[in-house]
Symmetry: C2
Subunit: 778 residues, 2 copies
């Protein structure tokens, strides 16, 4: 268990840990350990053990989920219901309902971070995929879903042997709007469209069953942290008390779209509200955000859960309510169904007595929770009889699953620089390879946070050593690199045919509760890289292992550094994938899912300023490729392959005409935009076809990013991702990539008060260096 | 007691700590605590309490030390003598002799690092002077002695109230031959002459009494670590087992001279042998080094002590003897008198029984120890009747002593770069000062290691804030600086009239048992400095707080960095002294006591190679300004003042004639050198007078360094310090500096087999840029 022993302590909630280890030391300490993993072979509606259960409506599989839940809730006392408002739900033995631990995690593989899941000798590990920021770089929605599907299969397999839960609080789809954010690595990046596609894809992979009944869930996913959660701990500003001041335009245009896509396109079973406040209100106590948007507009079919202890936090740390009971009442009335923590189970009783909340609202909350468990089959008796009942330890860490982890890393890796004659290296001409850097022999670093125990690690050094004779020097005692050990490194670099330097970050640099202060390579890594490069006689491949972008301008402009690769945190097979790319058995096709800024950027921009749009009056340069006009180190969408791919537009309309009624206001000259809600806009779509030609001999996965620049109205983005596709091109081949553009959804912009509109006028389409004007008219 | 609580654990000997805390846990643990500080009001020959004592010869002050010791030793049993061979000497109650703890430290002020000394509410702290490396930079022998004198006064004051011992194992005078050495900060630098002058000066200050009887000691000093001890822990090479392979020429020319000067010129009362081996023999078991050189040639009047547990180390770690008894016998027979540790007291009895050592040798050893205590007055009855008996707490941390600590720092600080219009700053024109850097608000960092609790700290920030309005940003979370907080720093720099950046190292970077791997500024300090400099609008003063030199080439060549100061570890008043220099109330006059190499140097040179001279065959560049010809960042002797001082030689012979007998071998043409032992060379001396002219208006302390280059014979140094003097020059004044040159001592070189000779031919004298040829003829 070296993995868990070495892990940095992760404090989900200061207050709960405090409670657990000090006030109720003796008893609760036992509890804390005890709840890890589920109770094997105990489940609801176990008719074999208790024939009486068959008489209960909630155990009757022929009824609808709604009816079964309604039957169940009617049978419960108020206290029993309140006991089902927290993540460690209580048992109701008289009804044969066992306790259930809601909290499991599966950010990029089944994780043992939450108390609902653990590993054992039976299942010692699970497949650990790259951190989402790298998976997102593949721009491959099929891959997003395929990973989710493997993770849920392994999760079900572990559930069947009592090691895991059915409810996973993943993915994290907050917009990675600042390179310093410690949790950016958990997300799919800075673009709302990509984030939404990732969310929907990964959630479908986790949730979708083979059953015709689309209401059934393989496991329940959860999109978090709703919403505008993007600061962890920056210069003392803590997520627990941070008030994100967000304009309606930014909210609807940037922060909400991934969640909307997760709920509407992904049909997610849960959304988690965040610690922070948005415009002065804690998200978990904001009825507009929960009841209004999630349930009202987006029609969530599932439960809303709080980030761990955030109900407590909004009383104790934010002083948003005067009493704990008021906090309980406010959150439930706002639409919260489940509390990660024990605050609702402690204080909801009091809140009812004080008349702050009615039992109907509690019924509503527990109904949402129970409905989710119903859909998961938790109330369907013996799991071995379930559709996934035959899964078990043999289905975890299968060769196929592990190969997918390697494939995911390969597809995500981004080639940022490649001088002629550098990559790919040929194992025929390279007889010795110097492998250098604090992440060169990384194992745990590769699997990031919210991790499990992986099936097996292949470090970069191991991956490369499998292909060629290597020498190795870490170059730094650790990633922090206060004192680089430069001479050992330069020595081996000077005598090798080529050099690979693996630098970057780890969880000591960027993590939950740890935002960065600067975005340079940590410590003396820069000096190490420069000196090693200068001592090397052959090609020098700089590999950056990190979640957030790094200011590596020095390396970009150093001719001795012939290639730069960004590999995110590439998961258990990361080293093999890196070797695949370096030695050319895979042609890289990843594209950056976030802007890499220069250090000067973070010096100008307070992390706490949530505005996406620039404000020249205060020298605020704006955020992400959509609004930031300044210099970058690398840009969103950057990424090369070996050889070039040519794009040509082969089909696109020059003019899109929107049919309008004679009396429509946009028939006047003053009208600049067309409301998306307008009936004439519905179902108005057109095709764009592109020819993509691989001019090289080597086959290539190729990523096509279709951007557009809308007319300059309503502070619209200067550029915006309209769609993306990944295609496989054999050497010297040509293919056609087809996009269907929905005029209202895809060409619209959000105005200052949050209305989405299609602007009339010229929309410029971009694919690579290609630009194509498209006119939208009435 | 925040000071001691925060201290890094310092392991004097792994084995003794192990013994103390594991094998004899219960009893020895008590002992370990118990012996800290002396037993107040208990002393030998307390006739007032025991009238019988007056009949003993050893209590008779009218007898010579030799006779008293002889009387005492005759009265002791073998076991009692053996009990006086370790640092925690046993009591002999039947003779009224109390136990005594030998181990106290006073490297740069009374320290509580050794068990013999402690602080209490009675004396809560003592004056903490700069670390010796900075004091040495003053090139002021008067100052060396003045500091020693204050330290011994404070030590006596603490002894009188039972808080301190009389035997101090300071100074450390090993040659600082490699910038990576963690203990270089404890030494006076890389030059044998300067180190010898420092040793003699500081020892005289500690030891000399006002008494006419020069045999009396104020406290007993100890020069350590004899010899060629210069590696602590470098890439796993440990001082405990390191075998220093040293040529006879380097030994006699470089490593031994400071010890020779300490014993012969300083009359030190003790020498400590080191952990390491020299040419395959542990120094504490080498009769040639101890009996042969220290006692035989140099005539030490005092005791030889082992570094802590080195007797044990040479058996257990070096496997130099087959048994512990053999180790005890070998060291005693080699000339060791006292063991820091309990190995001699444990195993000498057995060694005697086995016939490995005779009682006469033990008598000799304890006689040396007792003689030292006699000279200190330990056997003279009530200390309050002693010459220093009136000293007490009132004499510690006096305003005068604390002012001397500030003066010492001021005199040592070295100005390495100063662009026109930079320093000194004027508090009239500077309205706001940005103070930046991980050492900007340093307190403990300033007092280095082997430290006490200081009277009071004045950090650089405090020192500067007393003179001008300041803003402050640390810029790095700590000195390691894995993640510089650059934006806070650049922000305040951009809005201030001038910027002071205090960077460098601390004991986490360079320390006992911690040699550096590289000599760049730790972590991201370099990036911090560059960015702050670029953001600053006014002068930028870079202050480097460190023991060893740093490769700050980047700062030297950066025009935005207008001044560079090196401040060593400047002691408790360091911040005030830095402010004195920056705002021009003191005109800096310090000169570097060691070469500052570029990083490329340490990459070429294994720390374990002890050769001082270059070996082009293996690309070995040699060490120190005396032998290294390559590029430096800054050179030995570098240092500027405000304004210029002009030198002119006003008196020097062009020719030195050595009168030789008709039949002297050097009358032949083949003879290239004249043996120092030759009678004709004795007392042959001449004067050099220099005029030094301060052309500036401001008064200036000025340091004159007189170097010479001998004829190119016997691989002689390319340049060698002949003498140095510090003079005080009022503004627009001229003075004469006089050197007396002893031809044999000062113009000689050491040949390959260790003979010191005066080479015939042209000796080139250097003072600053001035060169003057001097011919030595027969």
């Amino acid at each position: 268990m070296a993995n868990t022993e070495n892990r940095e302590p992760k404090v989900y909630s200061v207050s709960s840990v405090f409670l657990c280890f000090s006030i109720f030391y003796a008893t609760v300490l036992l509890n804390c350990n005890h709840v890890h993993g589920q109770t094997s072979s105990v489940f609801a509606c176990d008719v074999a053990k208790n024939a009486n259960l068959s008489s209960y409506g909630f155990c009757d599989k022929s009824l609808s989920v709604e009816d079964r839940v309604s039957d169940l809730v009617k049978r419960l006392t108020l206290q029993e219901k309140i006991g089902n408002l927290g993540n460690s739900a209580v048992e109701v033995s008289r009804l044969g309902i066992p306790k259930y631990e809601w909290w499991s995690e599966a950010l990029h593989g089944v994780s043992n971070i939450g108390p609902g899941t653990r590993f054992s000798s039976l299942v010692p590990g699970a497949t650990s995929f790259p951190m989402p920021i790298l998976t997102a770089a593949s721009f491959n929605t099929t891959l997003f879903q395929a990973i989710g599907s493997v993770v849920s299969t392994e999760a079900r397999a572990m559930y069947n042997v009592g090691l895991a839960g059915l409810t996973y609080w993943s993915p994290n789809i907050n917009i990675f709007r600042d390179p310093r954010w410690g949790r950016g690595q958990e997300t799919p990046g800075e673009d709302p469209l990509l984030s939404g596609k990732y969310a929907a894809g990964y959630v479908k992979g986790l949730q979708q069953t083979d059953d015709e009944d689309t209401d059934k869930l393989k496991v329940a996913a959860c999109c978090k942290h709703y919403t505008a959660y993007d600061v962890d701990n920056w210069k003392g500003v803590q997520r627990y008390t941070f008030n994100a001041v967000v304009s309606q335009q930014d909210l609807d245009d940037t922060f909400q779209p991934p969640f909307k896509s997760c709920v509407i396109d992904g049909n997610v079973a849960s959304v988690m509200c965040s610690y922070n406040q948005v415009n002065g209100k804690p998200t978990c106590a904001d009825p507009d955000l929960l009841k209004g948007v999630i349930r009202g507009k987006w029609k969530l079919n599932g439960y809303i859960v709080s980030d761990c202890d955030s109900v407590e936090v909004l009383f104790k740390d934010q002083h948003y309510t005067k009493t704990p009971e008021e906090a309980a009442a406010k959150t439930i009335l706002s639409g919260l169904d489940l509390d990660c923590g024990n605050y609702l189970s402690q204080y909801t009783g009091g809140a009812v007595k004080q008349g702050l909340v009615d039992e109907a609202s509690i019924n509503n909350a527990v109904s949402n929770n129970f409905a989710t468990l119903m859909r998961l089959g938790f109330f369907d008796g013996d799991p071995s009889k379930h559709p996934y009942g035959n899964l078990g330890p043999k289905d975890v860490c299968t060769p196929e699953n592990r190969e997918l982890a390697r494939e995911a890393a390969r597809q995500g890796i981004v080639l940022l620089k490649n001088s002629p004659g550098s990559l790919p290296l040929s194992s025929k001409s390279i007889n010795s390879l110097a492998v250098i850097g604090p992440n060169a022999n990384a194992t745990r670093v590769m699997i990031g946070n919210y991790e499990g125990i992986p099936c097996k690690y292949t470090s970069p050094l191991q991956g490369l050593t499998a292909l060629v004779s290597t020498t190795y020097a870490p170059g730094c005692p650790d990633v922090q690199c206060a004192n680089a050990q430069i001479d050992d490194a330069t020595k081996i670099a000077a005598s090798a045919d080529a050099t690979v330097i693996v630098v970057g970050a780890n969880l000591a640099i960027e993590a939950e509760s740890l935002d960065r202060i600067n975005i340079l390579l940590p410590g003396q890594q820069q000096q190490l890289v420069s000196e090693v490069a200068s001592a090397s006689k052959g090609p020098v491949i700089l590999v950056i292992m990190s979640g957030g972008g790094m200011d590596v301008s020095f390396a970009k402009s150093n001719d001795k550094i012939t290639s730069i690769l960004w590999v995110g945190y590439p998961g258990e097979a990361g080293g093999a994938a890196i070797a695949d790319v370096i030695f050319g058995s895979y042609n890289p096709s990843g594209r950056l899912p976030m802007t890499w800024y220069p250090q000067s950027y973070v010096e100008k921009v307070p992390m706490t300023n949530m505005n996406m749009r620039a404000d020249p009056a205060i020298g605020y340069p704006g955020r992400t490729y959509r609004f930031y006009k300044g210099e970058t180190v690398f840009s969103f969408g950057d990424g090369m392959s070996f050889g070039t791919v040519e794009h040509k537009i082969v089909k696109v309309p020059q003019l899109v005409s929107v049919p309008l009624a004679e009396d429509h206001e946009c028939r006047s000259l003053q009208c600049k935009s067309l409301d998306v809600a307008d009936e004439h806009c519905q179902n108005l779509a057109f095709d764009i076809h592109l020819s993509v030609k691989n001019t090289a001999k080597m086959s290539s996965s190729h990523t096509v990013l279709l951007f557009f620049t809308p007319p300059d109205v309503h502070n619209a983005p200067q550029k915006h991702l309209l769609g993306f596709q990944k295609v496989e091109l054999p050497g010297k081949s040509e293919g056609i990539v087809k996009f269907k553009v929905d005029v209202c959804k895809d060409l619209s912009v959000v105005d200052e008060v949050g209305n989405r509109k299609v602007p009339l006028g010229e929309h410029m389409l971009h694919v690579g260096n290609l630009k194509y004007p498209l006119s939208v008219r009435i």
